[in-house]
């Protein structure tokens, strides 16, 4: 009796949470977009959208930028994944760790930094102009957005691709070789199709992320894309302008469509399940000439994808950087400024993201348990709703929160609930829940059901089982979920920019954004960005070592 009561009430609480903080805000957005001037149902707002050249163009641009970012990100990710999984290549470790670093920096910060490197009069073009007399429009118009986004998000493709390449049984390749296949033909006909599921998963994630990114186009002054249009409409014309909501709906529908298309493209073929051995691809030694090519390709790509960090480092230590290849001089004043005067952003981010990630793993733990281990009614729905946050643009969720919670006042201070700082925590938690949920699912699936059943047969109650059996065994997976949620939450801007009402409550990404709006703020903003990157990198590193240790320990138990 107790067992069912506990599980049912837990499911109910989670359901209500998701309803309040995910479903209703989104539904609000949809609802408003279908209202006419008298408050009754209409499609006229959508017809306005499709009649307006600017919106059509924005839609096209957003789509184009997202698609091209996938292409460019693939260009970055493919050689890296290929070299690491294919050859005995000393750079592999560097690639795998450095390749992930772009993810822990807000893309719009990267935009500022990359403008200094690759802009019309950035370092690269100044040098090109000086020595060769021409410039390359890396950052002109949509190019800039594509460039910045693909540099930022290519790790999604890289991670998925490397994982799926490592899952390919080596006999897949050997049997082809034995039948006379070799080199690129082999890669094209066997390796590529087999790694497709991983690639498509990564690529669709990149598409989604780029499609809904707000900060980057905003900082690059690109207005004619959907996310900036929605933001500009709502922040200039007002929270009640229906076009903002219509754009939000178009964003959601397109995102969901993209996920659906990706799923169709896979046709339900997840090859990893069908292969028995694994063990990754055959690794070969490289010949000298291959080595030179590989190292220069990898070097160039690493330079490109790490250029935001290099430029940001220079900026954070530089005094004045204007129309010159590097800053005029260097100083540590910006860091002093941040640490002694404005550490509030860092504190806020630590607090918000820790809370959000904590909420995430608690929710993820119970959702995955309910879905995988119980027969609670509607459990599958719980999973779908939680995962659907992945396809909901942050901006749309932010708009939904404003809409839903603005009219309620917070009993603590009487101000609108939407401006309460804890709402930022909640929106971050909802946005990052899918990451934690994925990690929790993976962790729970590895634990044999018998472990719980044997405890149950010894008279243990559910709570005891959670506390003494599941949580300890899932620590590694939950911690991984925590880190992913935490580190990706630190760079979130799209959702939070709509909700931050006072600077005291602002998280790091917002702090950097507002710093970047003053002449003297570029240096401190960059320093703030660097500190953020460092915190997340160090945190991730330590947690990774904890996970590794934990994994080894439980691994021994499981094998023994």
């Amino acid at each position: 009796m107790f067992k069912n009561l506990f599980l049912n009430s837990t499911s109910l609480i989670i359901g209500v949470f998701l309803l309040l903080f995910l479903v209703i805000p989104i539904a609000q957005v949809f609802y408003v977009s279908f209202l006419d001037v008298n408050g009754s149902f209409t499609l006229v707002n959508f017809s306005d959208f499709f009649k307006n050249q600017l919106f059509i163009e924005s839609f096209y641009n957003s789509f184009y930028v997202a698609a091209m970012s996938v292409v460019l990100a693939s260009v970055f990710a493919l050689p890296l994944a290929y070299f690491t999984s294919r050859f005995n290549f000393k750079g592999s470790v560097i690639i795998q760790s450095l390749g992930f670093i772009p993810l822990i920096m807000p893309p719009f910060v990267g935009a500022v930094a990359m403008k200094l490197f690759f802009g019309t009069n950035g370092s690269v073009n100044l040098l090109l102009d000086q020595y060769f007399g021409f410039k390359i429009p890396f950052m002109e118009g949509l190019n800039g957005v594509i460039f910045v986004e693909s540099v930022h998000y290519f790790p999604f493709i890289l991670i998925n691709l490397i994982t799926s390449l490592n899952n390919i049984d080596r006999s897949m390749e050997e049997s082809a070789q034995s039948l006379g296949s070799k080199g690129f033909g082999l890669f094209k006909r066997i390796v590529l199709p087999l790694s497709m599921p991983g690639y498509i998963a990564g690529a669709s994630l990149v598409f989604l992320k780029v499609f809904d990114d707000l900060g980057t186009p905003l900082l690059l002054d690109i207005n004619n894309m959907l996310a900036p249009q929605a933001y500009l409409r709502i922040s200039s014309i007002g929270i009640n302008d229906p076009m903002g909501y219509v754009i939000a709906v178009i964003l959601v529908v397109t995102s969901i469509l993209a996920v659906w298309v990706a799923k169709m493209a896979l046709g339900g073929k997840d090859y990893s399940m069908l292969q028995k051995g694994g063990g990754g691809m055959i690794k070969r030694d490289m010949k000298t000439r291959q080595k030179i090519t590989a190292y220069s390709v990898v070097g160039l790509i690493l330079f490109l994808v790490l250029s935001p960090h290099i430029a940001l480092t220079l900026l954070s230590f530089g005094t004045i950087w204007s129309f010159s290849v590097v800053p005029d001089a260097y100083t540590i004043d910006h860091y002093k400024n941040i640490i002694f005067e404005n550490s509030i952003f860092i504190k806020n981010t630590m607090l918000y993201c820790t809370l959000a990630a904590f909420i995430d793993i608690v929710l993820a733990f119970f959702i995955s348990y309910i879905v995988l281990r119980t027969k609670v009614k509607g459990r599958q729905l719980l999973d779908y709703i939680a995962m659907s946050a992945l396809a909901i643009p942050g901006l749309v969720l932010g708009i939904g929160y404003l809409r839903t919670f603005y009219s309620f006042n917070n009993p603590l201070d009487g101000k609108p609930l939407a401006s309460w700082w804890f709402m930022i925590v909640l929106i971050l938690a909802v946005r990052r829940l899918p990451y934690a949920l994925r990690a929790a699912n993976a962790a729970l699936m590895q634990i044999s059901k018998f472990l719980e059943e044997s405890a149950e047969s010894l008279g243990a109650r559910k709570t005891t089982i959670f506390r003494k059996i599941l949580v300890p065994l899932m620590t590694g997976g939950l911690l991984a979920g925590f880190i992913t949620s935490f580190s990706t939450a630190t760079v979130e801007l799209s959702a939070t920019i709509m909700l931050v009402s006072t600077e005291v409550d602002a998280p790091l990404a917002y702090g950097i954004y507002s710093y970047m709006q003053t002449a003297a703020g570029r240096g401190p903003g960059a320093a703030l960005g660097m500190i953020g990157v460092l915190i997340v990198a160090v945190g991730t590193y330590f947690s990774q070592t904890i996970i590794d240790k934990k994994y080894k320990k439980t691994g021994e138990v499981n094998n023994g």
Partner: protein, 346 residues
Amino acid sequence: MGNIINIKNINVSYGKNHVLKDVNIDIKEKDFFTFLGPSGCGKTTLLRLIAGFEQSQSGELIIDGKEVSKLNPWERDVGLVFQNYALWPHMTVAKNISFGLEEKKVPKNEIDQRVDEVLELVGMQDLKQRYPFQLSGGQQQRVALARTIVVRPKVLLLDEPLSNLDAKLRNQMRIELLELHNKLQITTIFVTHDQEEANSISDNIAIFNEGVIQQVGAPIDLYNHPKNLFVANFLGTINVIKGKISNGTFSDGNDFKLEKLKADNSDNCSLLVRPQNIYFEKKNDSDQNFKGKIQSKEFLGNIIRYQVLISGQVMTIDSMHEGKEKIYSKNEDVDVFVNPETSQVI
């Protein structure tokens, strides 16, 4: 018929781990040749070496008169069938099979024809458009075979191809493999750890242990005339009695003395007798009589296996179960007979 494969003084080691030691084998054309040994003995490594997936530190590998050690797998003209079949999950049966022909730039119409032929050969015509995950284990096995033989390799390499099948299917596939070999006359190298499988299918067997070839020969020769204890034990149950031999008489130092053996004098040797070569009644004139006591019996269907204490040592005796023979019970004293001609000293 000449040799199609010559393996000469092959050595393979991974770091300190010496996996293959001075291996020498010659394989005749059209032979069905088996590498047999316990797991970790190096048999699969040698197979993969022939296929081109492993490198030897020293030695020569000659296929059809050509030294191939330095050639890539795709240049060797050998076909390897993997233990897990390694069918490409993103291709249909037909696509899997036509892959090798396409790589060899065989004309389209010929590809179609050969794919159909080989599908018929393995009895899979109707499943042409299926994907591997829609097939049973045995069907996958047939496709894997078809995929390899369709390119008509000089040598067909089979890496424990039957180990993933259940017992009944394994026997059936064994027969099919043999029929296929008879039809196609392709030199085939078969790797297995199952001695019964090896005996039933092979023309010749090489027995491996710890990276060293123990003995090469036809199954019956190996069974009857093992060169060492490992081979003797590996190819079925055998009684081993330690002792010495002088002037054709073996003695275990106690009561057991077998005369009229054809063997050189030795102070430290073993007498090997298969359980079916010890009888409870005299069958030949040259049989020699010993006293024994039944320790236990085991009913195995076609035979009854007794453990009998003879001269302080427990020996295994298999007696055919014909229905009318005498059944002995525990602690019963019995006469047993051993023939020096079916016994071997090593």
